[in-house]
């Protein structure tokens, strides 16, 4: 996959991910429009990226590329900004997205709150927030 990456570096005032350790390959992928998760040799799939497999304990489980699609497990429409730089965005939507591959991911949903539904299909896009990272943002399919 290679999903669209929109450059938001100029307009973004919110927190910016800082790639460190096990998360570096994930954030590298986002700059190319790739959503990566870890898939261990034992079969376990996980996100956020960690230095060990949460199933078998193997160190540094390798990354795979997600298809970038999933469903909304749940969501909330935020009327109070939770971080600096979000005051002008309210209301905005944060969802827990269940990727087709299994792992769940917390992410902004760029959608109309009035037609949102748990279980709806969504696809990933990216907002580039810094030279090092782009944030996954999901849109209705």
């Amino acid at each position: 996959m290679s999903a669209p990456v929109e450059d938001r570096r100029e307009s973004w005032d919110g927190p910016v991910p800082v790639p460190t350790g096990a998360t570096v390959p994930f954030w590298e992928g986002t700059l190319e429009g790739d959503l990566r998760y870890q898939e261990c040799d034992c079969g376990n799939r996980q996100l956020y990226p960690r230095a060990v497999c949460t199933d078998c304990g193997a160190e540094d489980p390798p990354f795979e590329e997600s298809e970038g699609v999933g469903t909304i497990y749940t969501y909330t429409v935020c009327h109070v900004p939770g971080e600096p730089g979000f005051a002008d965005r309210t209301p905005y939507i944060v969802g827990a997205i269940e990727l087709a591959e299994g792992p769940r991911l917390l992410a902004l949903l760029d959608a109309d709150p009035d037609v949102l539904e748990i279980g709806a299909s969504v696809a990933v896009t990216f907002w580039r927030l810094s030279d090092e990272a782009a944030m996954p943002v999901f849109v209705p399919e």
Binding site: V18, Y73, T74, T76, V77, C78, E83, A96, L108, I118
Partner: protein, 382 residues
């Protein structure tokens, strides 16, 4: 196994304490709770502290109170359920003969104290996945879980609001409660939107303040001549921490594990429970915990809390001081559920504020983002 006796309880000033720091509030509550138990700082040989703004809170409070070489020190941080969790460790310590008088304390300046200003470099890598979403935590995280419950079980915003309405009824009888004016379901639904489905009145207060309880051995309790409120069961667990999307099933909390364990230790059933003090950081927190503790079927929490079941005069009096929604909420509300449970079992109140002949109480703590659960069963010995 020895059962610690909850011998004394107290709060510091609640609400706004701009001239106090977290430690002042914890220390004030500690001294008052010792006085309530009929003993003094000189008797203390154990300290258990969570919260505050220090990563070595047990050491800091021991120094502040100039304790004489305490033999039991505990500072495990599992958020709002820490104090219930401590009850088990205190039981173990007392069984080993390690301590006879342990203070469990908390202090905060959650309302007037300095805010936290952290950079992402200083925090956990998962924050890079969570904070850029702008999610207002904890309300937004609990709201997402509530939304999932509504989806799976048909729970309604009106039913969530019932929790706030019934706790406010209790608060109206508590002079220490920050909010005492009665409210209706409509008031909750019409209050300012925070994170859907939560409105302002679905969310706990933000307060300064502290609380403390004194746990003593059975021998010491007899010496002091206090009413014997025994810690009859304790259990803790966690399901996740920093990211609500890591919660395996957002409609089932750790209380589904800790409730049955604590009840079994105490040898009680739900029918034995006279009063429930259930962590209510949000309306949903109390609703889902009631389900998981087994007071109703899974998914039937909405129905259960409707119609005054948990209100004064109801079948299961809950959060009889007004809870975190109406009484106070300095951050780790878990200390206050123990305090109120003890007061109800001692029969400290008059009129409708007192649950008739309360002998068994459940005190439940929740920490993090619906992340940890600790259940304590307290029983008044005949």
């Amino acid at each position: 196994m020895a059962e610690p006796i909850l011998a004394g309880v107290a709060e510091s000033e609640l609400g706004e304490t701009p001239d106090r720091n977290w430690l002042d509030n914890a220390a004030i509550a500690t001294v008052r709770a010792l006085e309530d138990a009929g003993c003094s700082l000189a008797d203390v040989d154990g300290v258990a502290v969570a919260g505050g703004n220090d990563y070595m809170p047990a050491l800091v409070l021991s120094e502040y109170l100039d304790l004489d070489e305490p033999s039991f020190l505990e500072g495990t941080e599992i958020g709002g359920s820490s104090f219930e969790h401590f009850c088990g460790h205190v039981r173990d310590a007392m069984t080993r003969g390690e301590a006879d008088v342990v203070v469990v304390a908390y202090g905060s300046t959650g309302k007037t104290g300095p805010g936290r200003d952290r950079s992402l470099e200083e925090t956990h890598p998962v924050d890079g996945f969570v904070r850029p979403t702008g999610l207002f935590r904890p309300p937004g995280a609990y709201a997402m879980a509530a939304r999932r419950h509504m989806h799976e079980y048909g729970t309604t915003e009106e039913q969530l609001a019932e929790v706030a309405v019934s706790t406010r009824e209790w608060a109206s009888m508590n002079p220490k409660a920050a909010q005492q004016d009665p409210i209706t379901v409509d008031d909750v639904l019409e209050s300012r939107q925070i994170a859907e489905p939560f409105n302002l009145l679905d969310c706990c207060l933000v307060s300064d303040g502290g609380g403390a309880v004194v746990l003593v051995s059975e021998e010491k309790a007899r010496e002091l001549g206090v009413p014997e409120i025994a810690v009859a069961g304790v259990a803790s667990t966690s399901t996740h921490r920093q990211d609500i999307s890591e919660m395996p099933d957002m409609t089932t909390t750790g209380a589904a594990v800790t409730g049955p364990n604590a009840f079994a230790q105490a040898g009680i059933t739900h029918d034995d429970v006279d009063v429930a003090e259930i962590y209510d950081s949000f309306t949903y927190t109390a609703l889902v915990t009631l389900e998981d503790l087994g007071f109703c079927e899974k998914g039937a929490g909405g129905e259960f809390v409707s119609g005054g079941t948990t209100a004064p005069g109801g079948e299961l009096p809950m959060n009889t001081q007004g809870g975190g929604l109406s009484y106070c909420h300095p951050g780790h509300f878990g200390i206050f559920v123990l305090i109120e449970a003890a007061r109800q079992l001692r029969g400290d109140y008059e009129g409708d504020r007192q649950v008739d002949d309360a002998e068994v109480a459940v005190a439940h703590g929740t920490g993090g983002l619906l992340s940890s659960s600790s259940t304590v069963v307290l029983r008044r010995e005949a």
